[in-house]
Amino acid sequence: MTRTTRRTTRGAALRGTAVVGALALTLTACGGGEGDADPEAAAEEGGELTVWAWDPTVEPIAEAYMEANPDVTIEIVNAGTGNDQYTALQNAIAAGSGVPDLAQVEYYALPQFSIGEALTDLSDLGATELDGAFTPGPWTAVSQGEGIYGLPLDSGPMALFYNAAVFDEHGVEVPTTWDEYVEAARALHQADPAVSITNDTGDAGFTTSMIWQAGGNPYTVDGTDVTIDFSDEGSQAFAETWQQLVDEELVAPISSWSDEWYQGLGNGTIATLTIGAWMPGNFESGVPDASGDWRVAPMPQWSEGEQATAENGGSAMSVLESGENDNAALAYDFLEFAANGDGVQIRLDGGGFPATTADLESEEFLEREYEYFGGQKINEVLAQSAADVVEGWQYLPFQVYANSIFNDTVGQAYVSGTPLTDGLASWQEASIAYGNDQGFTVD
């Protein structure tokens, strides 16, 4: 069985490089063969797995899994965070050796690997039954066309984290719309010029998430046919609003995750962050001085009374086509354990934000009071956000590269007089050029 599968997989990989259309057929054939394999039986039989992940909770999950399945050995490799790991993974796939059986992949990077036929379609291994077990945002991200190319490990529905002490001190209302947000930025800055509503030096993930929330669909992807268009309403709404903040120098020119950023969050000079629900843990560990000052509110809206949010960050874990041990059934069994089984609680204990609806709806999760946030039950806000994510968003199959040139293009709006709309236009242009160069049909 193993032998035949391996041959089929190799064959598929070879043919896949030649013709994409033909590959769809081979994949189906391949999937059919693997479908006979029962993940649970594979776990009982035992075997070895190599997992590439940078998330620290993956290690204890693997230990728990090995305890439950003594014949399985799992090796966790930290091949770098985010982009570093993708580069290593891309290289291993190109070389055809040293490919892990499973890898952590962020949602925005997933299409790049699934279009490269590097990921195993999990539908026939039982993933179709999990429809509804995860929140819509992450589930849409792992489902591409007919296939399911990973299971969500966590999610990042966005919310407004704000420093309540700063807002109280200056008597400013917490904004509920983006127009109010701009007003609040002006009011805070007027009250104390050292205070900025937020920091921003141009962040691709944040910008795309904001456009997502505004109902924009700049990327439409259908196989290798890609459309990039930042002239839609959502993109323009974001550009218009954010331009005011940039022009009036109301956003602090501090890059996220820098030392200055942590200081700013701690000393009240950065008053809000609109960011994914995975942020609380970072607040507790990175900004201990401001304990008790911060609160969580729903993401400001583009029109009053709406309830729209977007996802920001978050990772899935995927099974690789040409994995070293070539045991997709076993890999899937572990993946299900990690994403929808006992692994979820381990991740929650480690400070992660779940993508599983059951956990998001559980009393224990929603009722938890966070001392750091002044005893607020922040999960109520965050879980609501997960349910309100706008559907239909797509990332590019080469989003990793597109994001890497964001500061070359859109970022220029933050340091020169270039309007954001022009920045978005040149980002669009550069992304189109790259896409066409890589063999996609982009316009």
Binding site: A18, Q90, T224, I254, S255, S258, D259, E260, Q263, G411
Partner: protein
């Protein structure tokens, strides 16, 4: 006699052949290592540069298309322009300071000479990555040294990490790092000048300035040429400093800020290994050409 003539020819080639093989035996290990670590990577880069790999469509042979593309690539030329400006401005400043310090130490009139020499050299011992991080913090206008100066003196210094100034800020870091290194090269060369020349100059009534111009500078011309060539290569390969500062000033330092950074971004975030190899090869050729010209000029003056 006739016999001897008849015998000699068959022996001679055999002996020559044996000599040839034993020679290879000695050179062999070197040649193997040389081929593996020097030639193979270069050949592999050239091999890469004549192909194109796409996310969709796989790998195709494209001949010199990548080179053609590089020559028409605005981003590549802007990167090259930036390091050329860096070369023209920073290298003379750095070598000038290094020469000044070397001459000062060599003059023997300096109080605390050894301490002075060590402290000038010390920055070179700091890894470039650490040095850049350190300077990056100092350049911060909000919480860094620049920010502190602004607060303390009530002034508003321009942001060293703004797009207009960031190249100068990098020049400052590189100068700080490498003055000591170049100083040491010059100082070592100065120490080899025979003292009899100085005595002769003194007898002729030459002043310090004349000694420097007529004896010291000509005597260390070779070292000056070497230091210049190293600095040219260093400028063209500028990577560490901008790469690290990029996290602090993402909009001022683009992904194509220097040719090396461009090649890096192309291959590591764009998976354009082939084009990246092409950029690297062109830069290598350019660096070689310029270094060669400098060497020729330096040596001709000497002659």
């Amino acid at each position: 006699m006739a016999q001897a003539v008849a015998v000699t020819p068959p022996v001679a080639p055999r002996r020559r052949q044996a000599r040839r093989w034993s020679g290879w035996g000695f050179v062999g290990p070197f040649m193997a290592v040389f081929a593996l670590v020097f030639l193979a990577p270069i050949i592999y880069s050239i091999w890469l540069s004549v192909f194109r790999t796409q996310l969709v469509g796989g790998t195709t042979f494209v001949g010199l298309e990548n080179y053609q593309r590089a020559l028409q690539d605005d981003q590549f030329w802007s990167a090259l322009g930036r390091v050329s400006a860096f070369l023209v401005v920073q290298v003379p400043i750095m070598l000038g300071i290094a020469l000044l310090v070397a001459l000062a130490i060599d003059s023997g009139r300096l109080y605390g000479r050894d301490f002075f020499r060590i402290s000038i050299f010390l920055p070179y011992a700091v890894p470039a990555v650490v040095a850049t991080l350190m300077w990056g913090f100092m350049y911060g206008t909000r919480f860094g040294l620049v920010g502190n100066i602004n607060d303390a003196l009530g002034v508003s210094l321009p942001n060293p990490l703004s797009p207009d100034l960031v190249l100068a800020a990098i020049g400052n870091i590189v100068t700080w790092e490498f003055v000591g290194y170049n100083m040491l090269i010059f100082y070592a060369a100065l120490r080899t000048v025979p003292t009899s020349l100085y005595e002769a100059a003194e007898i002729d009534g030459a002043g310090q300035w004349q000694v420097i111009r007529a004896i010291k500078i000509p005597a260390i011309r070779g070292a000056l040429v070497i230091a210049t060539i190293f600095s040219i290569i260093g400028s063209f390969q500028l990577f560490n400093e901008p790469s690290i500062l990029q996290a602090l000033a993402p909009n001022a330092i683009t992904t194509y800020f220097t040719p090396n950074l461009y090649a890096y971004s192309l291959s590591f975030s764009g998976q354009q290994y082939n084009y990246s190899a092409t950029v690297a090869i062109i830069m290598g050729l350019l660096t070689m050409a310029i270094a060669y010209v400098v060497q020729l000029r330096g040596m001709r003056k000497e002659a």
